[in-house]
Each structure stands twice: as C-alpha cells, then as structure tokens.
Symmetry: C2
Subunit: 367 residues, 2 copies
C-alpha cells in the first residue's frame, strides 16, 4: 500500500468505530493528508470518502486537470462547471452513494455556505464533524511527517538571526516581519503564518497585529514566526530586549522560561495534554502572574499550524509517540510588555519530549 492507501484504510477503520458512513472533506490540511492534493478557492471542491465504495473528488472544471493528477491516485474525478453549479454533480453522486439518511462527517473548516446547502440536499443525513475520525490519526505523525516537521523547525530556527538582526531601534514591526518573510522566501519556503512582532506595550497583546510601531531602545520585543516546508509548519517565539532589560522584565522572562521548561519536562510517559498545561501554568501562578497568562499552553502542529492535540485544561488526551505540539507559555502585562517563549516538541518513542527547535536562552537576549 502507498502512503495514501494506508491512511485511507486507517480512516475507514476509524469511520467504522465512529459509526460514520462517509466523509466530505473540503480543501485544506485534511484533504492534503488524505490525498496529497488540495486546491484553495471559493468554488466547491470536495473529497467524498464513503466507507466502502471508491472515493471521489468533486471539483470545479478549471481544477479538473490538477485533480486528476492527485498523488493518491483517486480515479473518480467529477468536474462541474460554473454554468450548472456544483449541486448538479454532487447531487447524483450523493444519490449513488445513498448519503441521504446516512451518517456523514464534514470537514471541520467547510464553509457554512456549503454546510447549509448540503443539509438541504441531504435533509435526512446526520451531519457531524469529520475531526472525530481524522484528528486522532492526523495528530500522530509518522516518520515522514516527523522528518518534515524537523525540516520546518530547522528552517524556522534559521530565521532567528535574521529576526534578531532586524530588531534595531527605529525599525518598525512590519520591517522586522518583512525581513523574516524575505529570508523565508529566499530559503525556498513559505510563511507558516504572518509573523507576529510585538514591540513594547504591543507585546502585551498576545496576537498583536504587526504594525508600524517603531522599536525604541529598552523595548521588550516578541517575535513569533515560522517557516513551512513540504506543507508542514514551523512555529517559534522568542522574546528579546533592545538595549537593557528592566529588573521586572528579567523577572518575568525568568518565570516564563521556567514555565516553558516545566511544560516540556511534563511530557512524560502517561502524561495527558492537560498535565503539560498545568505544569507550565503552575510556575506562573505560583509567582503571582496567573492572571496574565491568558491562553492555553500550546497547540498541535503539522499540516495545519494549529491542530490537535491542544495543550489546555480539560484535555485529557494521553500524549503518545508522534504527537507534535507547541509549548508556549506567556505573561502579558497591559500597558507594559509581554513575554512569550515557544518551541515545538514531539513525543518520542519512550514518551519523553524531544524539542525540535534550538534551545531557548535561559536569560533574555539583549540586542
């Protein structure tokens, strides 16, 4: 069996366990995982995976040539054209497969305009989310995926000196982001996501929109970026000071560094996702900064930059070999600054963490 046949076989076993008769997957990470093919666009394009009958791609006519070359070797490619619409092709297929009345898992990211139309086309189908089947499979990376994630981590690490060199007084956040993006492109890679560069008080907003604010001497700067290679994402965060850090900044950095280290150390045989969150959070809470750590400790990463397993309270998913996720605690002091530190870790065969990125400095790096 080739890679995609192996995955299809595992997916069908999981569909059987979950009582699902079919999946309808729209473009994105799950389609790439299952077929090696995906194509963005506003038109309806979907992979239909019945539990027994052959799988089929329903695609706009203008993507038919690309779809026919899908790496999974799916033979059934049905094209629709703009004049008659996708329902004219999907409808008969749904009838052949008897989807109406059956239990169908939809892609988590399928747009509402398709979801509601599918409900009209198949009024007695029971629609649920395909993630119940796909997320557990996608979250355990195989050897080839681990290699790709390691390459993405290396390509991301290679951007650190570029980011540091760009952090000069007078440089704007956007200029720093562009320097990172240009180096990413020169390396032949794509951005995992638009870099988040938060200087000074902007760093206190965890998902600050990189803007025109200029770096001032003494600023604490959050640098959050990643390179994508072979479809797999990288994602790290470093926090630096331009000039000299205040005692408060040094103290907060030390707490976040210890929280990060505790999170990584908590990845042990038998640990659950929430244990990693609890370990990192405890360090921050014990030092009185608990109210300023306002997000989960991490997220899975792979073909999506955010995917399962999510590292947060209440997630009792056991961490198993092949799981790959970020550990990224942070403290955000409104009106002052923020500190976040992030590397990607994977669970190795012995159950312990293996950090894919280069080590984080135990003390804040002064540029």
């Amino acid at each position: 069996m080739n890679l995609y046949e192996t995955r299809l076989s595992a997916v069908r076993a999981a569909m059987h366990e979950n009582g699902l008769d079919a999946l309808i997957i729209t473009p994105g990470a799950s389609m790439r995982y299952l077929t090696g093919f995906s194509e963005p666009g506003s038109r309806f394009l979907a992979l239909i995976v019945p539990i027994e009958q052959p799988w089929t791609l329903v695609v706009p006519a203008l993507n038919a040539g690309q779809a026919q070359q899908n790496p999974a070797g799916i033979m059934g490619v049905r094209a629709w054209n703009d004049a008659t619409g996708w329902e004219s092709v999907f409808g008969p297929l749904a009838e052949e497969l008897k989807l109406n009345g059956s239990s169908v898992g939809l892609d988590e990211d399928m747009p509402a305009r398709f979801v509601l139309t599918l409900q009209e086309l198949m009024p007695t189908a029971k629609l649920t989310l395909a993630g119940a089947v796909l997320a557990p499979l996608r979250s355990r990376k195989d050897a080839g995926e681990m290699d790709a994630l390691q390459r993405a981590a290396a390509a991301t690490d290679a951007l650190i000196p570029i980011a540091y060199a760009a952090c000069r007084p007078g440089a704007s956040e956007v200029e720093i982001a562009l320097a990172i993006q240009q180096a990413t492109a020169r390396g032949g890679n794509a951005d995992s996501f638009a870099p988040i560069i938060g200087a000074g008080v902007n760093g206190a907003s965890p998902h600050h929109n990189t803007g025109t604010a200029q770096i001032k001497t003494g600023d604490i700067v959050i640098l959050d970026f990643g390179a994508m290679t072979g479809g797999y994402h990288g994602d790290i965060t470093r926090t630096v000071v331009v000039g000299t850090a205040s005692d408060e900044a040094k103290r907060v950095y030390d707490v976040v560094y210890r929280a990060y280290s505790a999170g990584v150390a908590a990845v042990q045989p038998g640990a659950a996702a929430q244990d990693v969150d609890a370990a990192a959070r405890k360090v921050i809470s014990d030092t009185g900064y608990g109210d300023y750590f306002i997000h989960r400790t991490g997220h899975g990463i792979g073909l999506d930059d955010h995917e399962t397993p999510y590292i947060l309270a209440g997630n009792d998913t056991l961490l198993l070999p092949g799981h790959c996720f970020s550990v990224e605690p942070g403290i955000y002091l409104p009106g002052k600054f923020g500190v976040r530190l992030e590397n990607i870790v994977t669970v190795s065969e012995d159950g312990a963490a293996r950090v894919l990125n280069e080590a984080i400095s135990p003390e804040i790096v002064a540029l």
Copy 2:
C-alpha cells in the same frame, strides 16, 4: 452617523426585509465591512448583530484588547478563555437575545465546526446565510471603497513591469512569483492572493499551482496577480510570450482580447451580470474555442478577492453603479498553452464600465 453606523443601519433594514432576527459573522471580509475589525485565528470569534438590541463581539481572551479598539465603537465585547470555551460566553448571550427559535443568518465562510455547534446550542433557530443580506450591500462600493479599489488597481499595475522583467528564459514560475511578491511588500502592500504563474503547457490549467517549471524561449506565460491596499484587492492577468509567438498563439490571444473587449463593452445601463458573460463567451464560441473557455467571465472584488456579483450565465443581477468586478475570459488548450486577460472594471454613475487598470495590449506582448 459614522461609516459603520451607516452600514449597520442598512444591514438592519435588509435584515428586516429578509425576515432575519440576527446575524452571526465570523472573521473575514464581512466582519471588516461591518466593524473595521477582524482577526484571523482558529478560535471562535464572532460579531452578533441582533436586529434591534446592541451588537456584540464574542472573542477569545487573547484578542480582547484588539476587539475593544474596534473602529465601529462596539461597546459589548465579551471575552472567553481557553479553559471554559466559547460556548460558556456565547450561550448566555444567545439566551439574552432569544436567538433560539429565531431566524439567524450565518457568515458564508463560518467553519462547519462552529455551524454544527451553533445548531446544537440553538436547536430551534432557523439558520440561513447572511450573504442574502450582506452581499448586495457589500457589492455596491461607496466612494471611499472605490478610492481604495483604484489604489489597489494602481498598485497592481505597478507590478506589471516587475513581472515582465522577471519572465526570462531559465527563470522558474516561483521566481517570477517571488519577484512580484517582493515588489508588493516593498510597496508596503500585501498580496491579494498567491500569484498564478503558468508557463507553456502549465498555462492551460487556469488555476495552475505556480511551480518550479522554467521558462523556455517561445513559452506563452500567464501572469495573474494582485496587490491589496487598505484591505481592498487588486487582480489582473496578462499573457505574454517569451520570444516569438506562434500563429496559433497570436490567433488565440486575439480572440481572448476581443472577448475581453466585448465583455467590457457589454457593461451598459440595464445590463445584467450574465450579459457580460454572454458577450465575452460569444466571441470565443463564434471562433470555435467555446469548449476551451471553462470558467465564468468574472467575479466581484472588494474586501474579498472573489465576491458578488459573479459574472456568469444565469446571474440576472442588474449591474449598478458601484459594482466592481473582473472581466477575464480565457482559452485553455490542453498540452499547448493558455491565454487569459483580466482587468477590474466598475460600473460608473452613467451605467457604463470604467476600467480601473491600465489598458491591455491588443497584441501579445513579446518579452
């Protein structure tokens, strides 16, 4: 009234006409249109617009600071955190607003994982698409939006010489795309979409994935790209030859050029979207290439790169002042090459077309 209050008022009038009690809008162009604010991410973030009561943003805690600064001045910002989940905040709000049992329009692009959860939270709500209300409003651009689209067109036109200069024998499609993207970034703009560069036979696939194929002398090359300014998209396509065009390529180019011109000329007072498609398509069909024009003639453009009005058979939407869309016929000869020509046009106050981009050459440009 400020811009956003004006839009809110128009939206509520349209909700009244459409029998909608509330809208739930997720991040993207519609949220930006209504509030000036939007924030990408995998977490639930939504604007709730009841027909009478105040509008509210439900946001992840880590976006609360940004949401509170929303340009529309929305006072009700309710934050949820990762530990308790978005349902813990949305649920009580839905109860206050009595959304269950009412008629609710969902953002067209809301991911299925939220759609299905909303259906569980509000089992007796009638869920439809918000586009019925928003698309007609968003499709008629006001003066400020027209200015932004004109600026996006100018920024896009400025990339043409960059693209042409990069089209040299030996250059790969990716290198040409990067040259365009780097010039876009240097101009302080973002890409409207990843450039589509299709060299030689690759041009026969309308939405070819820009790849490592190298330009050869004699190649026909499709160059489809755009710059985005102030959130508004640009989008043009030029087709060139590197070296000397064959007689067949010259003939096909001429047909597409005349189809493009006929499409633009069909934008007249009283014309419908489908008339523009029919006018362009007739030129291509009359010359025997009808089977090789495998997509609609155009798409609306604005805060989204593809939005209403779509220019295709069956769309009897009357073209009105402020409508803004692409005219982009193409002919795709499998195994040979493709030709597509595209500019953005807007319907001016007198009902005729005004082309926002620089004129397309009537004969194929040889580089």
